[in-house]
């Protein structure tokens, strides 16, 4: 008797080979048969007619570390079809961590993830110091698989205390960090993460940034003993610096035989040669035998703002920019002054041209019916202009209304599509679970299919599936996952290829103590199975399954 039988599916196995029709049998958490017609009985049958049956998606860049302690499903990642997440990125992990260093690390996490303090203090009980005990705390408690990285910053804190954020490590301290990293890898860490850009809550560099190259070299030597990953965050938007980082990673990769990845790599009209130059260098380094995987996100980058804080968005509208810099009370007064209003509106909409602000979306407002509407549409409805409405709504809501200018960077499918399709590009960098009060970091997989498979045709369905399953598992050395092959772990996502997409970005208050974050729901995903258990379905929502495991390399 099978546990689950998926019938009549269009099987895309994650290897990139063409889809084929058939059934899939699942037993004891494993794929018992893939393809053909299965006659055996099963406790649960799923009719996948018209749908794709694929390996569960793997998200290699998340910050679900704390969230998973109170939200076993890492919502809404699971309902987007994600069955494995890598967390502990950007030098930050919740272990190894001595209890006296918790406030220090929480400050860093809060700066990066924008999570309320309650998310760390009260929402769960810290039951660990060592990486092994951290992994124990996760086992049996999670609905999706976790491939955890050990963070360089807590590693330094453990060995060096407060000096970790002040100076280079001594030879003895580096040796201690090596031993500690070995312990983490033995306990299930899939690699080490470090960061060249992140700051703590006081805007001071995180400890990993104080490490000299010899320290990273020594830690990479330990990674080499296990063949595990080094993940880094390079400086954004600087081609030459990223090229330097590619060379450093290549050196470490070759010297120690390890895979490395840097995230993110963005395309931007501000620097059109950026991606070409970096990918050329990556190709040169791969040709030498180095493994330096650039992670590229699928979604475009948006700019959000309110009139309360001066935003560079208004740089192209100097009068708006200048008035935004006034003290709050004075700004509100000016926005209601007829002469100033007229001047602002005339400046933004010369000769009645209303294009400047028409595209702006309302991100959050005390009037929920406005959220997601464009100023252009609303202005037409109300018989006014977008600039007038921007002022009126800001005044009505005491400046507490936020606007969004969508797709301001990494936004051109004609450029991003071929990049995502490049064999040397690792599709990832979602940052899921981070920046939660700035934008939604969920649904990048749906966006991959809707924008780059269906709309743009830059990738075939099989290629797109491979990019977020088989390739990811191979890059990270997750030998048991990423493919639909007999005997492998039964992580399966069933989706409608004609409808899979990400939903609109919406504010919700589902963080501990009613904390706010932005999320996107999924559409087109039908069923998500983790290690042979139904974890989510469009029909029944989340289940009580806690079949997630530590997906070690």
């Amino acid at each position: 008797m099978l546990d689950i039988l998926i019938r009549n599916g269009r099987i895309i196995d994650g290897s990139g080979t063409p889809a084929f029709m058939g059934d899939i049998g699942i037993q004891d958490g494993r794929l018992q048969q893939v393809g053909g017609h299965i006659t055996a009985e099963a406790r649960r049958e799923i009719d996948a007619r018209g749908q794709v049956v694929a390996p569960g998606f793997i998200d290699p860049h998340t910050h679900f570390d704390a969230q998973l302690m109170w939200d076993a499903e890492a919502r809404p990642a699971l309902e987007h079809g994600v069955t494995t997440v890598v967390h502990g990125n950007c030098s930050l992990s919740l272990a190894p961590l001595k209890s006296e260093h918790r406030p220090r690390l929480v400050g860093m996490f809060q700066q990066i993830e924008e999570m309320p303090d309650a998310a760390f203090n009260g929402a769960f009980e810290w039951q660990w110091e060592s990486f092994g005990d951290f992994v124990k705390a996760l086992r049996g408690q999670i609905a999706l698989n976790v491939a955890p990285l050990a963070g360089h910053s807590p590693l330094r804190l453990w060995v060096m205390g407060e000096d970790a954020a002040q100076r280079a490590a001594t030879a003895d301290e580096i040796a201690q960090m090596q031993d500690l990293l070995r312990e983490c890898l033995e306990a299930g860490a899939v690699g080490l993460s470090t960061s060249y850009v992140d700051v703590d809550e006081n805007l001071a560099p995180v400890p990993s940034r104080f490490a000299h190259f010899d320290e990273l070299d020594a830690l990479s030597a330990v990674l080499g003993e296990y063949g595990r990953m080094l993940q880094v965050v390079p400086e954004f938007f600087s081609t030459d610096i990223t090229l330097a980082r590619v060379d450093q990673l290549a050196e470490l990769s070759l010297r120690h035989g390890i895979p490395t990845t840097f995230s993110p790599l963005f395309d931007s009209a501000l620097s059109p040669g950026n991606v070409t130059r970096i990918m050329d260098r990556v190709a040169e380094q791969f040709a030498r035998g180095a493994r330096v995987w650039p992670q590229v996100q699928t979604r475009p980058i948006d700019i959000s703002f309110s009139l309360e804080q001066a935003s560079l968005f208004f740089m192209a509208q100097p009068m708006w920019y200048m008035i935004q810099r006034l003290p709050r009370a004075e700004l509100l007064e000016k926005l209601q002054d007829p002469a100033t209003r007229k001047a602002l509106i005339d400046a933004a909409e010369p000769g009645g041209m209303t294009l400047a602000f028409a595209h702006l979306l309302i991100r959050d407002s005390r009037d929920a019916s406005l959220i997601g509407r464009t100023l252009g549409d609303l202005a037409k409805e109300r018989g006014t202009t977008p600039a007038t409405l921007l002022i009126d709504l800001s005044v009505e809501e005491d400046l507490n209304i936020h606007f969004l200018s969508a797709s301001m960077g990494h936004e051109d499918p004609a450029r991003v599509g071929p990049l995502l399709a490049n064999d040397l590009v690792h599709v990832g960098a979602s940052d899921a679970g981070a920046h939660i009060q700035s934008f939604a970091t969920y649904g990048d997989t749906g966006y991959l299919f809707s924008t780059f498979v269906r709309d743009g045709g830059h990738l075939s369905l099989e290629q797109a599936v491979r990019k977020i399953t088989g390739d990811t598992a191979q890059i990270w050395g997750l030998r048991d996952r990423g493919l639909l092959r007999t005997g492998m772990a039964a992580d399966v996502t069933i989706f409608d290829p004609e409808n899979i997409a990400r939903g609109e970005e919406l504010p919700v208050n589902d963080m501990p103590e009613n904390g706010m974050r932005y999320v996107r729901s999924a559409s087109g995903v039908d069923t998500v199975i983790v290690n042979g258990e139904l974890a989510w379905s469009a029909e029944g929502g989340y289940t009580a399954s806690r079949a997630g495991v530590i997906a070690s390399a």
Binding site: R209, F210, H212, E215, D240, I241, A244, R277
Partner: protein, 82 residues
Amino acid sequence: MTLSRQRSFLAPEPGDDWDTIAQRCLPEDESGSAVAKLKSWNLHLFARNPPGSFTGSDVIFTEGPLEAEQSLLPLPADPQGG
């Protein structure tokens, strides 16, 4: 496999500051001018907190950019010729 030439950089050593790097990388230059050159090549280290300081993991360029980063914006006329 020969790698194409890239802009040269170094990783700072413990105890390094602008002066020590300038002495190491630009020994022929007078100290003040060498540091000024280095700073002009490393403006990224000033566009953050605290400005102008660097940590052990930073990239320090030891020469100017080799290739123009192209922009969609037209280049402005350069009245000084460089």
